[in-house]
């Protein structure tokens, strides 16, 4: 093709004049992706996006039958998985994809840390990514309650009560989340609203911000790759985004779809028993895997440490850890502009080790 202006006749010329698509084509033609030993990690952001799209599509399908009240929620999900054709599969995909999506988002985040992609000028991209991960956790927490089964009921009681123990705003925040003093029908209605309207809206906006920033700034190479090729007086090798990277990404999506489809079909998501606000919490209760590490930590902290209540201490600890992690790009370089490489790697490895060991302990103990 010889540029945009040459092509003025026929349908494509007509469309070009009205839509200006050649700008996109031009942009795609110049977009490249660095090639090095860590290139595979660049696929995980895209896989997370793909799983989110699956969530939106299967979520909309579930909406056709789901009813958000304490008397009908459990029964409507039961109806979906027993009577609606392929209902069990749609629900199973929605639940499995939710978990896989949070997993791939975390892989994506850690790859950003270890490939040092958070460096200037990508701090805002990092922040928008963290916000997206929080929204994904919010989706998981709010969606978990929707089937109104015993486990989700107690998970929500514990989760919202953690909010209540925050100093100052705690009680008001817990009331806001529960829609009242305790977890009940009002909470279900509220969580449903968060899950299918508030969070999807916020996520769409943030996702756009995140993707636009990535497009604007291009994909970064790790510093060691840049240094190596600078020393040789050249530039680090790149592959064209389109079609080379794009087709590979499509293959990654296919692989994700295969994993998701197999998991959903072979291990259909369980429904459990209907929640009963006047029953004791059953033995072996625990939250979804991505909340296991804090859950197990809370189990270990004694009721009082010095003058603080244990749960408050735990919350303060998690809060500090979160702030430290969110601000990573800002402490990753010192005042002289030198990178604190070892500190970042150490923090990343330490966080991974904490999450992995405490999740396993929380699962098996």
């Amino acid at each position: 093709m010889e540029g945009a202006k040459a092509n003025t006749g026929g349908l494509s010329g007509w469309l070009e004049e009205r839509l200006g698509l050649s700008a996109i084509r031009e942009f795609l033609a110049h977009k490249t992706v660095p090639v090095h030993s860590g290139t595979m990690w660049y696929y995980f952001g895209g896989i997370t996006l793909f799983l989110f799209v699956i969530q939106v599509l299967t979520g909309i399908l579930l909406l056709l039958y789901y009813r958000p009240t304490t008397t009908e929620a459990y029964e409507s999900v039961q109806f979906i998985v027993t009577r609606v054709q392929f209902g069990w599969l749609v629900r199973s995909i929605h639940s499995w994809s939710a978990n896989l999506m949070i997993f791939t988002a975390m892989v994506h985040m850690f790859s950003v840390v270890f490939l040092r992609s958070y460096r200037r000028p990508r701090e805002v991209t990092w922040l928008s990514g963290i916000a997206l991960l929080c929204l994904a956790l919010g989706f998981g927490f709010s969606g978990y309650l929707l089937p109104w089964n015993t486990i989700s009921y107690f998970a929500t009681k514990v989760g919202t009560d953690m909010a209540a123990s925050l100093p100052g705003i705690g009680p008001a925040l817990a009331r806001f989340l529960r829609g009242g003093e305790d977890v009940g029908g009002a909470t279900l209605t509220r969580f449903f609203g968060f899950h299918v309207a508030v969070l999807p809206g916020l996520t769409t906006v943030l996702l756009l911000v995140h993707l636009i920033l990535v497009q604007k700034q291009g994909i970064s190479s790790p510093p060691w790759v840049e240094r190596k090729f600078q020393a040789q007086g050249g530039k680090a090798p790149q592959m064209p985004f389109f079609p080379n990277f794009f087709l590979r990404e499509m293959m990654a999506w296919y692989a994700a779809l295969a994993v998701l489809g197999s998991l959903a079909a072979i291990f259909p998501w369980e429904l459990g028993e209907k929640a009963d606000p006047f029953a004791s919490a059953p033995a072996g209760i625990r939250p979804e895997w991505y909340f296991l590490a804090p859950f197990y930590t809370l189990k270990l902290i004694p009721s009082h440490v010095a003058f603080l209540e244990g749960e408050l201490l735990g919350l303060l600890g998690f809060g500090l850890l979160a702030v430290f992690w969110i601000l990573l790009p800002f402490w990753a370089t010192n005042r002289q502009g030198m990178e604190r490489t070892r500190l970042v790697t150490g923090a990343g490895v330490a966080l991974l080790a904490y999450l992995a060991t405490f999740s396993l302990l929380g699962y098996y103990k």
Binding site: A164, G180, V183, A281, G284, F295, S303
Partner: protein, 143 residues
């Protein structure tokens, strides 16, 4: 003169914008804050027939809209506690082997006076009064 007028207009526009925003946000925020629903005030509930609960066992009884744990400690001794764990709000249960009250959520244990034995709960369970009246147990709030 012109810049003064411009500043005035800018202030009016900006102030108007902020004021409209506040006028939208204030009701939205108030709307999201759930109104308090008055709880049906219950002072006493029946806890069931005596023979329905064996000695050394417990069950959950509805007390208004809260759960209460009724424990039959022995042939003649009955106790009742708020079943809401003081840690993070789970509903506790009676554990026969240990003769203690157990919360499954984070493995908290309370003794038969409601005091914390082990685990994360920070405070004792609130105690209720359990009395035998005829062949029935009655649970009431402590005075």
């Amino acid at each position: 003169m012109i810049t003064e007028r411009r500043n005035l207009i800018r202030t009016l526009l900006g102030g108007g914008f902020v004021a409209s925003l506040a006028a939208f946000l204030y009701p939205v925020i108030r709307f999201m804050n759930p109104p308090s629903v008055s709880e049906a005030s219950v002072n006493e509930v029946p806890g069931g027939k005596i023979q329905d609960l064996k000695p050394n066992s417990g069950k959950i009884v509805k007390f208004g809209n809260r759960p209460v744990l009724l424990v039959r400690v022995s042939e003649t001794e009955w106790r009742a506690f708020s079943a809401v764990c003081t840690h993070l709000n789970c509903t506790v249960q009676y554990q026969e082997q240990r003769r203690q009250i157990w919360c499954a959520c984070h493995n908290g244990f309370y003794d038969l006076n409601g005091n914390v034995v082990s685990g994360p709960p920070p405070k004792a369970l609130d105690e209720y009064v359990a009395r035998v009246r005829g062949d029935e147990v009655v649970i009431s709030r402590r005075a």
